[in-house]
C-alpha cells in the first residue's frame, strides 16, 4: 500500500482556536479512512505564546510530529508565526495564512516593531501562498469568529478528503449552535480559487 504521508502544520498564537481547527482536520481524515496522528504542546503556550500543531495522515503514520522540512502545507493563523514556522515546510510546500497580525509583548511595549516584511518573505520563499482575510470572509458567512473555518476550507482544496467528511467533522467537533455558520464559512473558504502558481 502506498504510504505517502500528508503533513500539515497549524501555527499561530495561544487562544486563537488552533487546537479546534486541528481537531476538525483530524476527524475529517479519520472519517475518510486514513490513519492520523496529531501533536502539539500545550501548557505554557496557553498564556499567549506560540502554538504549533502537527497533523499527519496516510496509510500508517509513525512519528506524531512532522519531520523538519517535510511539511506539505502550513496553515497560519497569524503572519509572524507563519513566517517563524517556514523551516518546517518542504521545498515547494504551500502556505495558507490569515491576514492577521498579533503583536508580541516586545512590540506591545514599543521596544521593537512588528516586522512588516513577513508577508513578502513568505511569498518569496513559498510562492504557493494564499493570503486570506479570514475575519472578513467569516463575517460574510455570518460570524467573524469562524475565521479559522474559512481558512480550513481553503486548505481543504489541497487535500484528498471528500467534502462530506469535512462537514461531518464540523458537525461533530463544533458546538451545536455554531455548526451552520461554520459549515457556511468552510464552504466559502473551499470556494476560493487557489491553484498552484
Amino acid at each position: 500500500m502506498n504510504n505517502r504521508i500528508t503533513n500539515i502544520l497549524l501555527v499561530g498564537v495561544g487562544g486563537q482556536g488552533i487546537l479546534l481547527a486541528a481537531e476538525i482536520l483530524s476527524e475529517a481524515v479519520l472519517l475518510a479512512g486514513f490513519d492520523v496522528k496529531k501533536s502539539e504542546i500545550h501548557g505554557m503556550s496557553q498564556r499567549g505564546g506560540c502554538v504549533v500543531s502537527h497533523v499527519r495522515y496516510g496509510a500508517e503514520v509513525f512519528s506524531p510530529t512532522v519531520p523538519e522540512g517535510e511539511g506539505d502545507i502550513l496553515f497560519g493563523f497569524e503572519l509572524m508565526e507563519s513566517c517563524r514556522s517556514l523551516p518546517l515546510l518542504k521545498k515547494g510546500g504551500a502556505v495558507v495564512a490569515n491576514d492577521l497580525r498579533i503583536a508580541p509583548p516586545s512590540v506591545l511595549m514599543g521596544q521593537e516593531a512588528y516586522p512588516e516584511w513577513v508577508t513578502e518573505r513568505i511569498r518569496e520563499r513559498f510562492p504557493d501562498f494564499l493570503l486570506l482575510d479570514g475575519q472578513k470572509l467569516a463575517g460574510e458567512a455570518g460570524n467573524v469568529r469562524a475565521a479559522n473555518t474559512v481558512l480550513l476550507g481553503a486548505v481543504s482544496r489541497r487535500l484528498d478528503i471528500d467534502e462530506q467528511y469535512w462537514l461531518q467533522a464540523i458537525e461533530k467537533m463544533v458546538p451545536k449552535k455554531a455548526v451552520e455558520v461554520n459549515k457556511k464559512a468552510f464552504l466559502l473558504g473551499r470556494s476560493v480559487d487557489w491553484s498552484k502558481p
Binding site: 496529531k38 501533536s39 500545550h42 499567549g48 519531520p67 506591545l108
Partner: protein, 587 residues
C-alpha cells in the same frame, strides 16, 4: 468496534475505565493533567485532586489495599514528592491493582528539569511499561493493572509529553465486570512495613523483578521486528515511532516494558543483527543495562542526553542527513505572558519597585520573572519559595534580610509550601511570605484545589481559610490585600518587609480564567484619552497584553498608548500608573 481519536492521556483514562479501575487520584501537572480530567467523565471511577502527589499516591495505595483497582497520575517531578510511599509500596505490593503514571517532559516544554523517570522503576524495583501511541496507552494501562495483581506489585506507566499530548486512533473496548468486590482484609505481614516484616518482603521484591524479566521474553508488548538485519535498534515509547520514520528498513526490538528488561529477548535480538543500537531519549537507561549484559551496543555516542528526539535528529545521528541549515528569519519572540486582568501583575510590579529579592515558586506567577516585571529571583520546585526565603535570611545581613520575600500561589502553598511556613514560624525567620490566592490551580489549566471550594467531581467543598490557617501556624502578622490596588499593595509589602518577624500577605482576587459563576467579574473596560496621553510609557511597565504602544508614525520615538477593549478586563491597575489622567473608564 468504535474508533476515536484520543490523546495519550485520554486513552490512559479510557484504559483505566476498561480495566475496572475504581479510584483515580492525582495532583495536576503538565503533561499528565488531562488523565484525571478524563477519568472524571466515567461515573464508575471516583476521581479526585489531592493537595500533592504524595497524598495522591497514598489515597491510591489505600484503595488498592482495600481491594479496588487504583490509578495515580503525576508529572515526572511529582514522583519526587511521591517517592517516599512508592519505595515501600514496592515492598508491600498490592491487593487491587495499582498503576502509577509518570508523565515525563523531555525538552522541558513545561517543566523545571527533564529527569528521566525510568530510573525510578529500577530504583524502586517495580515494573514500568512505556506506550508508543494512544492505542498502546489504553492497552498498556489495562495490562498494567493485570500485571500489578499477577505479580503483587505497583506498576509504573511512563509517558512523555509527545505521547500524552499527541492524538491517534484508538479502538474502544468494554469495562471489565468480573473483578472481586473490595473489602477489608487484615494482613499485617504484608501491609505493616516494620523491619521484621520488611526483611521478609525484600527478597520477594528481588525475586519478582527476576520473574518479570523472564516473563518479558514472551510478552507481546516486547516486539521484535526483523527487517534489514545489518542494523538492529532497541527502542521504546515515542522513540520507536521516530526510528520507524527515520530508518524504515532497520530491524527493531520495541520494548513495551522498559523495566525489568527482557534479557533473553535482547540477547536473541543482538545475535540476529550485525550492529546493535539503542535509541532512547535522555539517559542511557537501556544502553547501560545492555552493556552490563556484556553486549556491544551504541547509543549515547550518537544520540544526545538532552532534549526530545525527532526523526530528523535520529537521521542526523546516523549520518543520513546534515543538521537542518534553515534556521528561519530572526523575528521578535513571543514568550507566554500573564493574562490581561491577572491579579498577580500588581504584586510583581510592587515587588520590582521595592527591589525585593523574591524566592519564587511554580505556577503562572513564575512569569513574574519576565520583563518588564522582572521580580522573581529563584524558582526550584513546588513549595520551595518559603523554605528558601528562610535560608537566604539566615546568611545575609540584617539590612538585606528585609528584601527577602517568598511568593507562592494558593495551590502550591497547599502542595508543599505550608511546611515551609511552619518552619518559618518555628525557627523565627524574618522573611515575608506572599500567598497569591487566585482560587484555582491556574497554570495547568484551572483545576480545583482545597481552597477553591469545589472538588474535581464538581461537588461543593470546604474552602480553606488562609488567614485562619496561617494564624493557627503561629503567624502573628497576616494582611489580606487587593492586588489591583497598587498603593495598598506596595505599602503593605513595604511594612511587612521592614518587620523583623514572620508575616504573611494574602491577595484575594480570583484568576480571570475561573469560569465558575460568582468568582471572576469583568469590570467596565478602560480607554486612553489620546489628547491627554503624553507618551510617557508608564502604563507599559506592567506588561499588560491589553495595552499597546502606538508609534506616532513620523519616525520619532513619540507615540501614545492604546487599550484593546476586547482584552481589557477593567482591573484598573494601568489607570493608577498614569500621572496625566489619560486612562479612564470607556464611555
Amino acid at each position: 468496534m468504535k474508533k476515536e481519536i484520543l490523546s495519550g492521556n485520554e486513552a490512559i483514562a479510557r484504559g483505566a475505565y476498561e480495566a475496572g479501575c475504581r479510584v483515580a487520584c492525582a495532583y495536576p501537572g503538565t503533561p499528565s493533567t488531562e488523565i484525571l480530567e478524563n477519568t472524571v467523565n466515567y461515573k464508575e471511577i471516583n476521581s479526585s485532586w489531592a493537595p500533592n502527589e504524595k497524598v495522591a499516591l497514598e489515597v491510591a495505595i489505600g484503595a488498592s489495599f482495600g481491594g479496588g483497582r487504583a490509578l495515580c497520575t503525576m508529572k515526572h517531578v511529582g514522583v519526587n514528592v511521591a517517592a517516599d510511599p512508592l519505595f515501600t509500596l514496592s515492598y508491600t505490593g498490592v491487593n487491587g491493582g495499582l498503576v502509577l503514571v509518570t508523565a515525563d517532559d523531555p525538552e522541558m516544554h513545561s517543566s523545571q528539569n527533564e529527569q528521566d523517570n525510568r530510573n525510578y522503576a529500577k530504583f524502586a524495583k517495580v515494573p514500568m511499561l512505556e506506550p508508543a501511541d494512544s492505542q498502546e496507552c489504553k492497552e498498556f494501562t489495562r495490562l498494567a493493572f493485570e500485571l500489578s495483581e499477577q505479580y503483587d506489585t505497583p506498576v509504573m506507566l511512563r509517558t512523555t509529553t509527545r505521547i500524552s499530548h499527541s492524538k491517534s486512533i484508538v479502538a474502544l473496548g468494554e469495562r471489565a465486570n468480573d473483578l472481586p468486590e473490595p473489602k477489608l482484609i487484615k494482613n499485617a505481614a504484608k501491609l505493616v512495613m516494620l523491619p521484621g516484616n520488611a526483611r521478609v518482603r525484600h527478597p520477594f521484591v528481588e525475586e519478582r523483578i527476576k520473574k518479570l524479566s523472564e516473563a518479558g521474553a514472551d510478552m507481546a508488548i516486547n516486539r521484535r521486528e526483523l527487517r534489514d538485519t545489518s542494523i538492529g535498534i532497541i527502542t521504546s515509547g515515542v522513540c520507536y515511532q521516530y526510528v520507524r520514520e527515520a530508518l524504515p528498513d532497520a530491524s527493531t526490538l520495541k520494548l513495551g516494558m522498559v523495566h525489568p528488561l527482557p534479557q533473553t529477548l535482547i540477547r536473541e535480538f543482538a545475535a540476529q543483527v550485525d550492529k546493535l543500537y539503542v535509541v532512547e531519549e535522555l539517559d542511557p537507561f537501556i544502553e547501560e543495562q545492555v552493556k552490563a549484559m556484556g553486549i556491544a551496543v551504541t547509543g549515547k555516542e550518537l544520540i544526545s542526553l538532552c532534549g526530545e528526539l525527532s526523526p530528523g535528529r535520529i537521521r542526523t545521528a546516523f549520518g543520513l542527513q546534515q543538521p537542518p541549515a534553515d534556521a528561519g528569519d530572526k523575528l521578535p519572540g513571543r514568550p507566554p505572558n500573564m493574562c490581561p486582568g491577572c491579579p498577580h501583575r500588581g504584586v510583581f510590579f510592587a515587588l520590582n519597585q521595592l527591589k525585593a529579592y523574591v524566592t519564587g515558586d511554580i505556577g503562572c506567577y513564575t512569569l513574574g520573572f519576565m520583563p518588564p516585571l522582572s521580580a522573581m529571583d529563584t524558582c526550584v520546585c513546588m513549595g520551595a519559595s518559603i523554605g528558601m526565603a528562610t535560608g537566604v535570611s539566615k546568611v545575609v545581613s540584617a539590612e538585606e534580610k528585609k528584601k527577602v520575600v517568598a511568593v507562592i500561589g494558593d495551590s502550591t502553598f497547599l502542595h508543599t509550601g505550608i511546611n515551609g511556613l511552619m518552619d518559618m514560624v518555628y525557627n523565627n525567620s524574618t522573611a515575608t511570605v506572599v500567598i497569591l490566592d487566585n482560587r484555582i490551580t491556574a497554570m495547568t489549566g484551572r483545576q480545583d484545589n482545597p481552597a477553591s471550594g469545589f472538588t474535581l467531581m464538581d461537588d461543593p467543598a470546604h474552602r480553606i481559610d488562609f488567614p485562619l490557617l496561617c494564624k493557627s501556624l503561629g503567624v502573628r502578622h497576616i494582611r489580606v490585600i487587593n492586588p489591583f490596588d497598587l498603593e495598598q499593595t506596595k505599602n503593605v509589602l513595604r511594612e511587612e518587609m521592614e518587620r523583623p518577624e514572620p508575616s504573611v500577605i494574602i491577595t484575594d482576587k480570583p484568576c480571570v480564567l475561573v469560569k465558575r459563576e460568582g468568582v471572576f467579574h469583568k469590570g467596565p473596560v478602560y480607554e486612553v484619552a489620546v489628547e491627554k496621553c503624553t507618551g510617557c510609557r508608564a502604563c507599559l511597565k506592567i506588561g499588560c497584553p491589553a495595552i499597546e504602544w502606538r508609534p506616532a508614525g513620523d519616525g520619532s520615538k513619540k507615540g501614545t498608548a492604546f487599550i484593546d477593549p476586547l482584552l481589557c478586563t477593567g482591573c484598573d491597575v494601568c489607570r493608577q500608573l498614569c500621572k496625566f489622567d489619560a486612562i479612564r473608564r470607556a464611555k
